[in-house]
Symmetry: C2
Subunit: 434 residues, 2 copies
């Protein structure tokens, strides 16, 4: 593949792959709602007439990954033969297609398909530019950034002019922040100790490892059994000490009333935040929970379907931390809108990651946020889970509990060809033998 290229190019091919990792065999990733996930990627490769490839995917947890892959294939007519220099226009064309829109609008399978394709287009663009995506985005002008965003349904909370002003205010000091980011990386926290399927001994060992590795925060899954949660939280506090940030994550397990009760029963352990206490659709429910557990902060976002729900979570003072996901909303473009919304409301963005390649992707967005939007890494952390990175061509690097800024061109979401082949469902060797 050539390294960096300028000028016009066209997409001439799209491949999709149903890739699944049998993670349920080890209970990795087990939580109160997802007891046995098989981390999967509905994977797409775009090919250009000048020899580049863009890779992207929607993340799922097993069954239904075939449906998700079919939805990505349905977008082929929107990219094949297209000159894809203007990713603002192409994104808006896909999201606002009047017929496809009926399948959402802007939510669920069809929206995640758009996300996969949009992210693959950005991977392509960054590879052709010879830059990691965070840097490519950071070097765009404020006007170029806002042109990438669909402000429809946002104007009561964030106008184009307000977004432009936020970006202009961050112009100064960009070069220094890029240098600093390259030097020190971006803070991470780890969920690896906290899966529900692990016993106390494993929890204890993984907490110690997290501290030894320099992570500044950990997270525990909760919500299946209260006494179990109290015991595990106590174990984690013993290892980590009384003031170390320990977040908890209920993965949507509760209703409003039961959530408030349960969280208050964990209050003595000082949760750094409580994540996904209830349905990701329930803006008013999150707001009621936030009031019922003050001052414990509420966080959510990994299942939030689009910028319109995020807008309302911010308007309702329902969340204190906003957790973007790189592959659920409409890809890079919609996440730019969400970063700007969060900046407008002064709420720190602490991304969801893990799964298949979500760490690889989302680090670029947080780094862009630091360099070109908020100018700070204070009170911000990117989730880190140590699963499946070995399958990626440009895997994340964690050093002293921080993400090292990627330097390879692209969006870092490319799987090794051999990993795709082995894990293709149902005919790859991993599944054929099962």
């Amino acid at each position: 593949m050539p390294v960096g290229a300028a000028g016009a190019y066209r997409i001439v091919g799209m491949e999709t792959h149903d890739v699944r990792f049998p993670t349920s065999r080890q209970l990795d990733g087990s939580d109160a709602m997802n007891p046995d996930p098989d981390y999967s990627a509905a994977y797409v490769v775009l090919k250009t007439d000048d020899g580049f490839e863009g890779h992207g995917f929607a993340f799922t947890i097993g069954r239904g990954n075939d449906v998700q892959t079919t939805a990505i294939s349905a977008l082929e007519p929107y990219v094949i033969g297209k000159d894809v220099e203007d990713l603002g226009a192409l994104y808006k064309d896909m999201v606002n297609d009047s017929q496809l829109r009926w399948l959402g609008p802007e939510k669920g399978v069809m929206h995640m398909a758009i996300s996969a394709v949009v992210n693959a287009l950005w991977d392509l663009k960054a590879k052709r530019a010879g830059k990691p995506l965070w840097r490519l985005l950071s070097e765009l002008s404020p006007e170029q950034i806002v042109d990438l965003i669909d402000f429809r349904y946002l104007s009561d909370a964030l106008t184009r002019d307000e977004a432009l002003q936020i970006l202009k205010n961050a112009e100064q000091g960009k070069a220094e922040r890029i240098a600093r980011l390259i030097e020190v990386g971006y803070p991470a926290y780890t969920t690896s100790p906290g899966w529900l399927g692990y016993d106390d001994e494993k929890l204890r060992r993984l907490c110690k490892e997290a501290l030894d590795q320099g992570f500044g925060q950990i997270k525990l899954k909760v919500g299946a059994d209260l006494e179990d949660d109290r015991r595990r939280f106590r174990v984690a506090r013993e290892i980590c000490g009384p003031d170390f940030p320990i977040a908890i994550d209920a993965n949507q397990r509760w209703d409003v009333g039961s959530g408030i009760e349960w969280i208050n029963a964990l209050r003595e352990f000082k949760p750094h935040w409580v994540e996904e206490p209830t349905s990701p659709d329930d803006v008013l429910g999150h707001a009621a929970i936030a009031r019922g557990i003050e001052p414990i902060p509420v966080a959510t976002g990994e299942h939030v379907q689009n910028r319109i729900i995020f807008k309302q979570l911010l308007q309702a003072n329902a969340i204190s931390y906003l957790q973007i996901d790189s592959a659920r909303v409409g890809g890079v473009n919609e996440n730019l809108a969400i970063l700007l919304l969060a900046a407008k409301f002064g709420v720190p963005v602490c991304p969801h990651a893990g799964g298949v390649g979500l760490c690889e992707l989302v680090q670029h967005l947080s780094m862009f946020d630091y360099v070109a939007v908020t100018g700070t890494m204070d009170d911000r952390v990117i989730e880190y889970v140590d699963h499946l990175h070995e399958h990626f061509v440009d895997p994340v690097v964690i050093r002293n509990g921080r993400y090292v800024a990627p330097s390879a061109p692209g969006f870092s979401g490319e799987l090794h060809a051999a990993s795709i082949t082995a894990h293709t469902f149902p005919d790859g060797e991993v599944w054929r033998d099962a």
Copy 2:
């Protein structure tokens, strides 16, 4: 096919069909967001070992109907070989499948697929019972009804006990209401005059026809051009008179601020309600619009993804009319929850219909609401659009502007086999010739 049957049975087969009607050729169904829909059904047939069939579908408007059909096929393992007597348990199994849930949860393509299957199961159940669905549901006990509902995420607005009480309060007088319903039918309104693609002459003619046919309300599509809307509203008022209920429908065209401005510019024409002023996800936006246009009522629902968004619309006093759709949320079961939520909050349900077979299905739900939930038809109307009914085995019957209560066993959503064959995409004769 046998007429009525008791005892255990199992599903032994599932067929799916990608059925599309080329409605865009006539601009039927054109509105401000959907200029050229091809009304489509991702269609499913379930077959039992005792010779019955259950028919259901998800409604789409063209592109993506293949994705929707694939999603329905993915549910085959949940029904094949199953004893499907307990439709509460089966519904909850599908909705709460931990892996499939990741594709929503409870929204978009995967949720609409569940809707299609759930509705097909109810069609089957009603056919085997030898009753129209509205009657089958009306004759269930309050306990049987609440067992069909997933109360997760509802308890801050509606508990199981409250739902039970609403149903128990409606027990008295059921028999009289069934008799009355059969005698007079259920009030309808018509959208047929109001499509944006029609010229003033056609609008005038269709308004007159609506009055002649005895409809008590009409609806106009708005939101593409304000001067055009004012002219068309004036034409409709000339024909219908100053006090006749004329609703308007923007199909999500506006942001909060632009919606308030636009609606207030139509205030002099006294809209009976304004429908879908903005994104169906924007609960707080609907609430802000409702306050900004008082006392003009706000209505929404056809694109509302699930009971959780409806719950919030009610909690936030954002809507004065709630518009259920028979085939977007999780089928009959979730619509039962939504009818009960609306009853709790005292908001009339005026269903969305039209498309392919949505009139056929949703009439059953409103009739159940009258007989067994609210006990009233006051201030309630079911949408009626005179498209595509000829393709159904048991099409709706409108008499004096009212839906006649169906008497044939089932859920009325069965297409003629010949219609399926001719309209199958892309190989049916209708498409092959195009």
